[in-house]
């Protein structure tokens, strides 16, 4: 008897179809909620990255005798001072080089415009109907408007609009560092005794999952940088690895980030090789190849593997996340699904374990008997 009862008590967090259905449903619902708080998604993610980066230093200071609050304040303070210093240096550098920077910006923009004109002229010479509708002239006018007005009004203003919410990042990171442990204890205390050890296991796995996700993201960035850098080097493009790194970091925002990265690579190539548009098409082909590899091979093998998700649901979750919550959905769909899967597996294992539920019922009866001891009629 005790053998069979005990055997049921072993940890079995294997994910069944019900757990997966619950995981996908909960992830999509959470993404819908997230869509309403889009401005919070990016600073929250950055704060989590900062938390995992700075947490070892907080623990070191705690060992040196500081309280958790003091250690968090010192580490966060030092980081913010360094970040402010670097920002000030960057701003002063930008101010000193603003004229040449602006010149370079418009030079690259002009390179892109030249490439577009060349492509459209070639197309018009091949297809008469394109020449008849004056595609080249129309697109030339549109591209001039894009460079002059749209880029300044929409893109730059859009970035400026995001900056205030990014200021939330240091505040969130500070409170994660200061109160993270207290929050976990708070969660643990809210759990009945019968489920306590399962909850400990779940908290540990959630922590491992989030940590592994960001490790996977960094690996993905490295792989992307190397692939793009090598490819662009072979094409003879200057600053190939710097461009590769920029594109890989931009790819943290799935689809949109990749598109911006591609545009930057195209502009640089078109400007550096004004007489050879085929070089640009080769760069675009390389970029497309790396993106395909990234979406269907590298991401499932790095980020997907770190979350212990199968490559197929990994790709489907990214697409579904984008459909449900746009850019924020693309960014957070995978880590969110990883966390929800751990929680759903734990709850599933508790539901499937009659011994744990019986222990909880027994503990409730003990409490009930204790509080009702003088209330019997």
């Amino acid at each position: 008897m005790s053998e069979s009862v005990s055997a049921d008590s072993r940890l079995d967090l294997s994910s069944g179809p019900l757990v997966w259905a619950a995981t996908i449903t909960c992830t999509m619902l959470l993404l819908l909620l997230l869509k309403q708080a889009l401005w919070l998604a990016v600073p929250f993610l950055l704060a989590v990255v900062l938390y995992y980066t700075l947490y070892p230093a907080v623990r070191r200071l705690a060992l040196a005798g500081a309280t958790r609050e003091t250690a968090a304040a010192i580490v966060a303070g030092c980081f913010f001072i360094v970040a402010l210093g670097m920002t000030a240096l960057t701003v002063s550098w930008l101010a000193a080089h603003s004229v040449s920077g602006e010149e370079a910006f418009f030079r690259y923009l002009e390179g892109g415009r030249r490439l577009l004109n060349w492509t459209l002229t070639v197309l018009e010479s091949k297809f008469d109907f394109l020449a008849r509708i004056g595609l080249s002239a129309a697109m030339g006018k549109k591209s001039a408007e894009f460079g002059g007005t749209y880029l300044q009004e929409h893109l730059l203003l859009g970035v400026a609009g995001w900056l205030p919410s990014l200021l939330l990042t240091p505040f969130l990171a500070f409170f994660f560092l200061r109160d993270g442990g207290r929050f976990l204890k708070f969660l643990g205390n809210a759990v009945p005794n019968a489920y306590f050890e399962r909850t400990l296991y779940m908290i540990e796995r959630v922590d491992t999952t989030v940590h592994a996700y960001f490790q996977g993201l960094l690996k993905l960035t490295l792989v992307d940088t190397v692939c793009l850098g090598l490819g662009l080097s072979l094409l003879g493009i200057r600053g190939a690895f710097a461009l590769g790194l920029l594109a890989a970091v931009l790819a943290w925002v799935p689809l949109l980030g990749a598109a911006i990265g591609c545009v930057i690579v195209v502009l640089v190539t078109a400007t550096d090789f004004p007489a050879d548009p085929w070089m640009v098409y080769a760069a675009i082909a390389l970029f497309a190849l790396v993106r395909l590899l990234d979406d269907f091979v590298f991401t499932p093998l790095t980020v997907g593997r770190s979350l212990r998700l199968h490559p197929l649901p990994t790709v489907l979750l990214i697409l579904a996340g984008g459909a449900v919550a746009g850019i924020a959905g693309l960014i957070v769909a995978l880590p969110l699904a990883g966390i929800v899967l751990v929680i759903a597996s734990t709850i599933g294992s508790i539901i499937k374990d009659p011994r744990l539920r019986a222990r909880h019922a027994f503990a409730r009866k003990l409490w009930s008997r204790r509080v009702n001891v003088d209330l019997q009629l």
């Binding site: 005990s6 623990r59 005794n193």
Partner: protein
């Protein structure tokens, strides 16, 4: 700012922790660190703390009350030990993934502190010295238990 790093006075809770054999060799700062990792749990008399053969995730320290260690389903006949305040049990969970070797239930209302295996493992990564002090005390405790279980004439001296 320097005052923040001065050795602080031990609170009653830290004094209690410092008196436990597992943490006896830790400095006040290390005790404070460990205190931050401990979860406090309260159990009613007869409530089960963990089952035999259940996979252990944490060790427990009896802060108050008494705990019965027994064979599963045999609280009377299968009684192995009854432990009081200051005693550590379920410590093998910190060392491996093997199932619990006995059931633990509250012999009377008790307050326990628990240290999870994952916290102990992360301590090994971030505070190697502290973790090794605890591991050494753990090894000493296990050696003592081994000697107590084996009579002197059956012991092999190494």
């Amino acid at each position: 700012m320097v005052a923040w790093f001065h050795a602080k006075k031990k609170t009653p809770r830290l004094r209690t922790l410092g008196q436990l054999s597992l943490f006896a060799t830790l400095s006040p700062a290390e005790l404070r660190l460990i205190d931050g990792l401990l979860h406090e749990r309260r159990y009613l008399q007869d409530e089960i703390i963990f089952d035999e053969r259940e996979e252990g995730q944490a060790l427990y320290i009896t802060i108050g009350g008494r705990v019965l260690i027994c064979r599963q389903g045999e609280a009377g006949a299968g009684r192995i030990a009854e432990i009081g305040a200051g005693v550590v049990f379920g410590e093998l969970a910190l060392l491996d993934d093997s199932p619990r070797s006995a059931q633990a239930r509250a012999a009377e209302d008790c307050v326990l502190a628990s240290l999870s295996r994952s916290d102990f493992e992360s301590l090994q990564d971030t505070h190697t010295v502290t973790a090794s002090k605890i591991a050494l005390q753990l090894a000493r405790q296990l050696a003592r238990q081994l000697r107590e279980r084996n009579p002197p004439d059956e012991r092999i001296s190494l």
